[in-house]
Subunit: 442 residues, 2 copies
Amino acid sequence: MGTDILRCDAVAIFEAGLKAVDPVNTVKKKLKREGDIVTLEGREYKLGDYKNIYVIGMGKAAASMASAIEDILGERVTTGIVNVKYGHSVALKIIKVNEAGHPVPDESGLGGTKEIVGLLEKSGIDDLVICLISGGGSALLPLPAGDITLHDKQELTTALLHCGATIHEINAIRKQISRVKGGRLARLAYPSTVLSLILSDVIGDNLDVIASGPMVPDTHSFHDCLEIINKYGFKEEAHRAVIQHIEKGCLGDHEETPKPDDPVFERTQNVIIGSNITAVKAAREKALDLGYNSMILSTYIHGETEEVAKVHTAIAEEILSSGNPLEKPACIISGGETTVTIEGKGKGGRNQEFVLAAAIHIEGLKDVLILSAGTDGTDGPTDAAGATADGTTVARAHDLGLDPYAYLCDNDSYSFFKPLGDLLITGPTNTNVMDLRVLLVS
Amino acid sequence: MGTDILRCDAVAIFEAGLKAVDPVNTVKKKLKREGDIVTLEGREYKLGDYKNIYVIGMGKAAASMASAIEDILGERVTTGIVNVKYGHSVALKIIKVNEAGHPVPDESGLGGTKEIVGLLEKSGIDDLVICLISGGGSALLPLPAGDITLHDKQELTTALLHCGATIHEINAIRKQISRVKGGRLARLAYPSTVLSLILSDVIGDNLDVIASGPMVPDTHSFHDCLEIINKYGFKEEAHRAVIQHIEKGCLGDHEETPKPDDPVFERTQNVIIGSNITAVKAAREKALDLGYNSMILSTYIHGETEEVAKVHTAIAEEILSSGNPLEKPACIISGGETTVTIEGKGKGGRNQEFVLAAAIHIEGLKDVLILSAGTDGTDGPTDAAGATADGTTVARAHDLGLDPYAYLCDNDSYSFFKPLGDLLITGPTNTNVMDLRVLLVS
């Protein structure tokens, strides 16, 4: 019984976090309108100053964010288009929603991006562009430069990942071989005024990382990209188009991404309207309301899921043993995003695997429950957002003939939790600020 | 300059932790004497009731603990012998110190253990036995049963580890094939009165795990051990002596380890006089004194060093970014013991590797410093206890031509920190309560 209450509390805490990063709520909280004046983080914009208001967007939450813009600006929106992941549409009055491929970009994404570029090309100094960026925005804004194809780009990314390139190196190249990333979208929009509203899905909320920074300056050059290419010894025919583009860029044949001092950013305001910390703080408030001593551990959590789970359960054990870092009833909340090194053939996601690893370590402990779930409602290639586990999980699994350790080794967390009834299923939430983890000790 | 102060503070916090688990201090704090009465956690013992007082001990801190006993009981000590690791002797008046091999047991350990057994065999109902147990106590109390050799035991342990046996399974077997572990020492001491003073070096402070529980009941039988042997398919000639011993045990030819209801424990009091939490709590007090908002994260920390380091640095980033879980200046203290999966050929230990991994993640951060060190003063096969790192470490390393990532991959943390001058060298501390980690953000 005690644990049932814990599970309900953990789910309520998670849902409070979700609600705080609901795209409609966050847009309306940050972008305020009073009559003809729109305010974004202290800066005022007079709607009467603008001939046209164009709305563009890319990412899982783009359609929901766009619906908030329609609510706020109504008929003042001239036209617009947003690229969202398949299944993430919302009915809109003026702005067009274009569903496209994610995480692998497709032709539909390409088409939508071309429409966005078309809109920006016709926008001018008298126009206002509202850009709605959210998680998945990089794959949902594909437009390779020159004669590079989506396939070329994909192949190079895969090859770079294989040879140990860092995500920063890969992003540097992505920006230079794109027509829209790395601030190039801002250049297309210039000299319009641009309000860029961003739901962050990356640790640290760096503007140049989220969706590959379409509206912010880039700090890398074609020469940097060539160095990266050379560092990893790419000479293969397979990457000919990309390498040639970069080499020509070094010779001045292609335009560089705009740098921090570029005037194209003069009329651009980028604002993060929601991120992991928004959700985590709201979750903490809910936990306090429910009577838990509550603590935010970190929103910067990364690393191998199984090992990160061990640190979380170690905190649960300390709470039980010495009342540190919090006295019971305690709630520890963390965010960020872990990784799973896949060695098995099972079905699962980083959140479900986190909970499975934790279940093994809290076996037999009373009044401890752990929840981990993705705020986008999707954990890996499953229909679950995550799962919950407590001290009875391992015993209940054994009763069903399930060996937790075997499922963990096979990365088969979904198949483990499904028969136990401990999956957390929310459906698509139309938002995405990475993961939330809730650890309760009562 | 700021960071130099941080380093001094971190070292002072670590040293405060060390002092709290100084073997002499901890023994004297727990074992109080007033005239003829000795008190241990509320239980009184009248020295006049005992004809002889024998002192035995095993572990890195045994000689220091014995010196405290000589201070407390003086001439009342009849005789005694303690097994310590080479280089861990302390000058004693009555009690003999026998140096022996650790972590690999040797003939000297065997000889000392036989002397301990000899003392216990001649002790009787009128005698008091004081047993001093500390980290390393299992390797420093070797006495295989029957005709099993140290080599046989070592081979089996290695083989069990290789085929994935858990530490609990290995310990179950260790106890059954020993003449002294798993409560067998208590049986040898019976019917003497036994005061067992324990400095814990294991996560969770389980009495049956520390030094393989020589003075506490065992819960596993010869049959359990046979099941483990069969589970992993051990049939090889190499393990003949061990397997035959267990098989004969199942037939009743050898005596079982004493179980929880065994009368041999009637006169035995086991008390943990110090453990990781003792050190961690003292470290936290020191941090508070120095003006830091301070928090104990957990003393149950385990898992792969590099990943655990990521969670610690993630907390540092959150403190800098949002003031959670503590406002600056903040000190996060954790204990326990991580593991390193060795893939390289370098020299280092889990603490130095932890700090190296952390250094990479805090690169460029201002006013962040991390320390990790073993309370025994030895980290891996090095002369360092651990190391410290801050946001400048990576840059300073590059200046010296050192690539932090390459050193991390080669498990070569000692060679990385030595030229930087960031090793923490204490020399042997004669105590051992696992590791301390101190994270400062100012």
